[in-house]
Amino acid sequence: MIAYTDKVRQIARRLLEDCSVEMVIGFRKGSQPMMNEPCFIKKAEDADQLVWDGNCGINLANYLTGRKEKIAVFAKGCDSRNIVTHIVENKVQRDRLVIIGVPCTGMIDKRLVASQTEGEIEAVSETGDKVVVKLKDGGSTEFDRRQVLQGNCALCVHRNPVIYDELVADLVEEQTDVDHWADIREIEAMDVEKRRRFFEDLLAPCIRCYACRNACPLCYCPTCFVDESRPQWLGKGQDQIDVHTFHFLRAFHCAGRCTDCGACQRACPVGINMRLLTKKLEKDCFELYQWEAGMALDQRPALDTYKPDDPEGFIK
């Protein structure tokens, strides 16, 4: 994927030069290994700032709402599905957007790499299917790229953008041999008490910084329910019940909208996998309504429509 960089710059430069767009939203090289920073460029000569590699995990759909400019944005499979969701929900206008599709082979999980590496990492590079980690003490380690992908990327079945105006490369082959719901089935199999303890343990480290919410392209409410004061839905302290209420309710707000882009988990400073919550709802939507979020512009979301043949299994 690292070879995309040249193409990314080339496209950005052209779009700015011929005034097709006012700004291009992409990534620039970060100051940390395995980190890139979302950025915008408005001048063609700045196009060389842009990069593309396995560290572009942040969902750029997040940066489109509330802007007035005509924008070109780079979009992986998940980003593109969130852009579709934004368009369907009237948060962005299709005709103000040039979507540059980036067929994706998954993003690197920096925490996974760090935890499997002894010593401090100085730099990380990618060559083909390998991820090469250079250590500060001079040594180096090599990983098979597939072994160090983000959890959601490893199980992703929509790597190609679903909507685009042009592509930076040929479409990639979609994964068909993955068991997308294994972790959720495991939780579903737990009895009530065990499940409760599982979630207690999962959410215990939460510091309520709301990085998950803010990293999520779906969380664009002007005032989030946790911030409302009239009425005040939940307490602001570190009480476990308030923390749980935040996570559970946020997950429900994303039901039928979440594309499992992994931004929430990636952003969490204390490493909580809150995707286990959103994924369960993703699974339910899929099984009950054969619904996958953000796949097409002309379909209303599952929870947004009523059909006489909707399943009513929950009604006894």
């Binding site: 950025c39 998950c212 803010n214 005032t223 911030d227 570190q238 990636r266």
Partner: protein
């Protein structure tokens, strides 16, 4: 220089002894990272950590803390009258706090301990705590403490400074509080270290390669810096989560909230963050810092300019690198500091590149 030698046996025994007169707090490995936690009896602090994910500011400034309690029962004589919440201010010791985090407490103290007002909660916990620091012999790539008036062997804010010495430690006692703790723990084995401590300090300082220039910040015009053209670029990636402020050892902003349970209630305070839009929003809906550019600028201006102007004690950052490591979108305070410091100078382009 005289230092105290603490071999592994004495360390274990000393901590065990301290447990009877102090509440012990130390670094504990948790899943993927270390946090400062209350140690159970017989539990040793894990002193092999590089740095904790969260700063130990919670020791004196809990994320959520009760201030007052009250009754809302009309039959109670003191209905609606606020009373002090019960508190534990018994002596406690933080083992293994890094020098940067200890200095951060001193910077935060400037806010909570003023001539006019004293914050009783913060100060009482601070005073009840003895700080046993652990010098940093293996700094991270994101550590830039030496640029911030701090350093891997910095002593400010510490009562005892430990440095690793084989399986045990060498200790430098810095205050009366430290002396009392050393006596209570039986760490009394003094010896002349022949300059080893000093050499280790120099080596550690040399190991910190990340540098930031702050020399021009003080003379800079506040409003010019406020109006600088780089803020849009700096703030673009920000998602306005509170990660940087919650991890930061020098961030102290808080919120005050009432909570009611039946007929009883409490007034509590919780960490707050200048990254959150509701931090400053007026009841009318007007928000003086209504955009993320405002909020990102506030964070950096507060740390690197307003604080400098207000106290003339350097920047409100100790170079621990946590915000750099944990920012989900890689906003790097070192880059911003360089942009600010070089703003308007000929080097502006160099710093941006």
């Amino acid at each position: 220089m005289k230092v105290i030698n603490i071999d592994q046996k004495k360390w274990t025994k000393g901590i065990d002894t301290l447990g009877s007169s102090y509440k012990l707090i130390g670094p504990v490995a948790e899943k993927d990272f270390h946090t400062f936690e209350i140690l159970q009896q017989g539990q040793l602090p894990d002193m092999s950590f590089t740095n904790t994910r969260l700063s130990p500011k919670e020791v004196v400034f809990p994320q959520s803390e009760d201030m007052f309690v009250y009754s809302l029962d009309q039959n109670d004589e003191d209905c609606n009258i606020l009373k002090e919440a019960p508190k534990d201010y018994s002596p406690r010791v933080v083992l293994g706090i890094r020098p940067c985090d200890a200095r951060a407490m001193r910077l935060v103290k400037l806010n909570f301990d003023t001539e006019q007002y004293k914050d009783p909660y913060w100060l009482r916990l601070y005073e009840a705590t003895t700080f046993v620091g652990l010098a940093c012999d293996q700094p991270c790539a994101t550590c830039f403490c030496t640029s911030t008036g701090c350093g891997p062997y910095h002593e400010e804010g510490l009562d005892i400074l430990l440095a690793k010495d084989g399986d045990g430690f060498k200790a430098k006692v810095l205050t009366d509080k430290g002396r009392q703790l050393a006596e209570a723990s039986g760490w009394t084995d003094t010896a002349d270290d022949g300059g080893a401590f000093e050499n280790a300090r120099r080596a550690a300082e040399a190991g910190i390669t990340s540098k930031v220039a702050t020399d021009r910040l003080r003379q800079m015009d506040t409003l010019e810096l406020y109006g600088a053209d780089f803020w849009e670029d700096v703030s673009f990636a920000c998602i306005n989560c509170g990660t940087c402020t919650y991890l930061c050892p020098t961030c102290w902003c808080f919120d005050i909230q009432d909570e009611v349970h039946g007929k009883k209630g409490k007034r509590m305070r919780n960490w707050d963050s200048c990254m959150f839009p509701i931090f400053t929003v007026h009841t009318t809906g007007h928000n003086p810092r209504g955009t993320k550019l405002h909020r990102v600028r506030q964070r950096f201006m507060h740390k690197l300019k307003y604080f400098v102007d207000k106290y003339d004690q350097g920047i409100m950052c100790v170079g621990c690198g946590r915000c750099v490591q944990q920012c989900p979108v890689n906003i790097d305070i070192r880059r911003v500091c360089d942009l600010m410091n070089s703003y308007g100078s000929e080097n502006a382009c160099a710093a941006q590149g």
